[in-house]
């Protein structure tokens, strides 16, 4: 696209090591000049990083020997810039939560409990929940990234 010959490659890494691999690769790119201009580590892609490079990424190149780097994803057309740009502006989780949704808490003292969304505070990215299995309904306020949606809206 446009006036650049850069391509985007998806590299497979060990899960949880995406940031470390990206930092090591960027250091190697600065030292050896392998043509890497940007490395993208989206939160939503587990085990993969996206690399923008002017040269073809070939893991047989000794400059690209990095721990936890598993391989290059081979594809017919590769990844377009439009696809990569989607990851640049991640949608906040809170916009997908609706009042009345059934959610599961994924961290904190109520981890594993199911709850119903009572109120949403978009500016602070917090939701007020009511635990379903509790005998007495007590409102619990948690951050939006501590919950997982199970059912969009209660019937």
């Amino acid at each position: 696209m446009e006036d650049t010959n850069n391509s985007i490659y998806a590299l497979k890494t060990s899960v949880g090591q995406e940031r470390n691999v990206a930092r090591l690769l960027s250091r190697k790119a600065q030292v050896s000049g392998i043509g890497i201009s940007a490395i993208l580590v989206p939160e939503s892609l587990k085990g993969y990083i996206l690399v923008e490079s002017s040269t073809k990424i070939d893991l047989r190149n000794p400059d690209l020997k990095v721990q936890h780097l598993r391989g290059v994803v081979e594809g017919k057309h590769g990844i377009t810039f439009e696809e990569a740009k989607r990851f640049l502006k991640p949608e906040p989780i809170i916009s997908s939560i609706q009042k009345g949704s059934i959610v599961e808490l994924i961290s904190g003292p109520f981890k594993g409990e199911r709850a119903k969304v009572v109120r949403i505070d978009e500016s602070r990215e917090e939701v007020v929940l009511e635990l379903i299995e509790a005998a007495v309904p007590i409102p619990v306020t948690v951050k939006a990234d501590q919950i997982r949606i199970i059912q969009k809206e209660a019937d």
Partner: protein
């Protein structure tokens, strides 16, 4: 690491090295720019200084 709440640049300090705005430890997504002149992703986000950036900061 902390992220600048305005320019999203990552820094270990309380204030951003470049724009001087306060930083936050609550950030997600990582973008490392090594060559902003060549990078199409850097142009998209108007990044001109090489370094580490986050994608979202609170």
């Amino acid at each position: 690491m902390n992220a600048c709440t305005v320019c999203k640049r990552l820094t270990p300090k309380e204030r951003c090295d470049v724009c001087g705005n306060p930083t936050s430890s609550n950030w997600s997504g990582l973008l490392i720019i090594t060559d902003p002149e060549e990078s199409e992703l850097a142009k998209e986000l108007n990044i001109t200084i090489p370094g580490e950036y986050c994608l979202r900061v609170r």
